[in-house]
C-alpha cells in the first residue's frame, strides 16, 4: 500500500492548498479518531448525504446498514461514493469577520463500494466497527450470529483517491486588519465524554467496564 493518497483532479485542493496533505498516515490517524462519517451517493433523485458509523480496516473503509435499507439495497459493486470524516478542533476568532474560521482535520475519500459477501470478511468488518467505536468492546459483547450477519449489508471502499485538509493554530488576519481592536484567538473544541449510564433493564452484576469508564477520544 502506497504511503501517499492518490492525487487527482478531484482530490487536488485548490483553496488554501497549504492546508492540504496526501499523506496516508495522517489520513488514517484522522479516520481512526472520528466516530461519524458522512457518506454521499448519487441517486436517480439526486445526491444524498447520510451520517454513518464506519471503521478503517487496513486500507479500506467499511460502512454498514440493514439489508432492508433503501439506499443500500440496490448496491452493486460499482456504486461511486464519497466518504467524509471531519474532526472539529476549535473556533477561530479573527479580528475581521472575513477571517473567522474553524480549526479542523478532515478526510474526503472517493471510490466505489464493494459489497462484502464472505461471512468471515463480514465478521472482520463487524469487529472493526465495534472496536473502532469502543476499543475492547468486541470481545465483551455477543458476537453476530448467522442471521444477524445475513441481515446486514457491509460495504468496503479502498482508501486511495483521497485528500486531507487541516487547519490549526491562531487566526490569520490580513495585515491591514492587525490593528483592529477586537480580541482574537481560538476556542478549542473536542469531544466531551460523560459518565456511562447503565441500561435500566440491565440486571447483571458486571460493573462499568474499564473501556467505558475510561473512554476518551482524541
Amino acid at each position: 500500500m502506497s504511503d501517499a493518497l492518490r492525487q487527482t483532479d478531484k482530490t487536488t485542493i485548490s483553496r488554501h492548498s497549504e492546508r492540504a496533505t496526501y499523506d496516508r498516515e495522517v489520513a488514517c490517524a484522522i479516520l481512526d479518531e472520528g466516530l461519524v462519517a458522512h457518506v454521499g451517493v448519487s441517486t436517480p433523485n439526486g445526491v444524498i448525504v447520510i451520517p454513518m458509523t464506519y471503521a478503517r480496516l487496513d486500507d479500506e473503509l467499511v460502512i454498514h446498514g440493514a439489508v432492508a435499507s433503501r439506499w443500500l439495497n440496490n448496491i452493486d459493486d460499482s456504486l461511486p461514493i464519497s466518504i467524509c470524516v471531519t474532526l472539529l478542533d476549535g473556533l477561530v476568532l479573527a479580528r475581521s469577520a472575513f477571517s473567522h474560521s474553524m480549526n479542523y482535520r478532515s478526510v474526503v475519500a472517493y471510490g466505489t463500494a464493494r459489497l462484502l459477501k464472505d461471512k468471515a470478511e463480514k465478521q472482520a468488518a463487524f469487529k472493526a466497527l465495534v472496536d473502532h467505536m469502543l476499543p475492547g468492546r468486541w470481545t465483551d459483547c455477543k458476537q453476530p450470529d448467522d442471521k444477524e450477519i445475513a441481515a446486514t449489508t457491509v460495504l468496503a471502499m479502498k482508501l486511495d483517491e483521497a485528500s486531507v485538509k487541516i487547519r490549526s493554530g491562531p487566526p490569520k488576519d490580513a495585515e491591514k486588519d492587525m490593528d483592529q481592536p477586537y480580541w482574537a484567538g481560538v476556542i478549542p473544541l473536542g469531544i466531551a465524554v460523560g459518565t456511562p449510564q447503565v441500561d435500566p433493564a440491565y440486571d447483571g452484576d458486571a460493573g462499568v467496564p474499564e473501556y467505558a469508564s475510561n473512554y476518551s477520544r482524541g
Copy 2:
C-alpha cells in the same frame, strides 16, 4: 412557512421510521446547535461531500466559500445539493454487537442552491454565519468591506424537503439477548470547550470576551 418539512420519496425514512420526524421546529433546533454541515453535490466527476460552516437564516440554510473555490465557481441557481448536520450524543453499548448504535440527532435536507447577489443579503448571511458559530461575535469584530463581500460566494437553500432522525435512550437488545451477561448502557458524548487561547500576535488590551469565556454548545 409550514410547520412541517416536506415529506417526499427522498425524505421518507424507511429504516427505523420510529426515529424520524418532519417537525420543522425540531429540525431548526438541531441546525442551530450544529457547527459543521456536510454538503453533497454531484459533479461530472461524481459525488463529492465537503464539510462547511453554515447558518440558518429564517427558513434558509446559508453556506459560503471563496469566489475562487473550485466547486463553488460554476454555480448557477439550480445546483441540487444535500446538506446534512449531525449531532453525536452518545455511544450505545448493547449486549449484542448487532444492536450497538449511537445516539444522535441529524437533519438531511435537499434543495437547490440560490446564489446571493444582493450586498445587503450577503451581509445578513455573514452576520448569521458569525453569530451562529459564536453568538455575540458579529458586533465585536470588523465587519466585511465591499472587497471581502465581493470575494465571497454565498449560497442559500430553502429548508423544505428534509427529514430529521433521532436516536436517544438506552440500548434495545432483542428479547433473546436480554440474558446475555455483558454490561449494557450508554456513554454520553457532547462538545468539550477548552479555555480560549489568545492570538500570540494580539497586542490589544481587551480581555477574553464573555461570549468566548462562557462558550458552550448543546
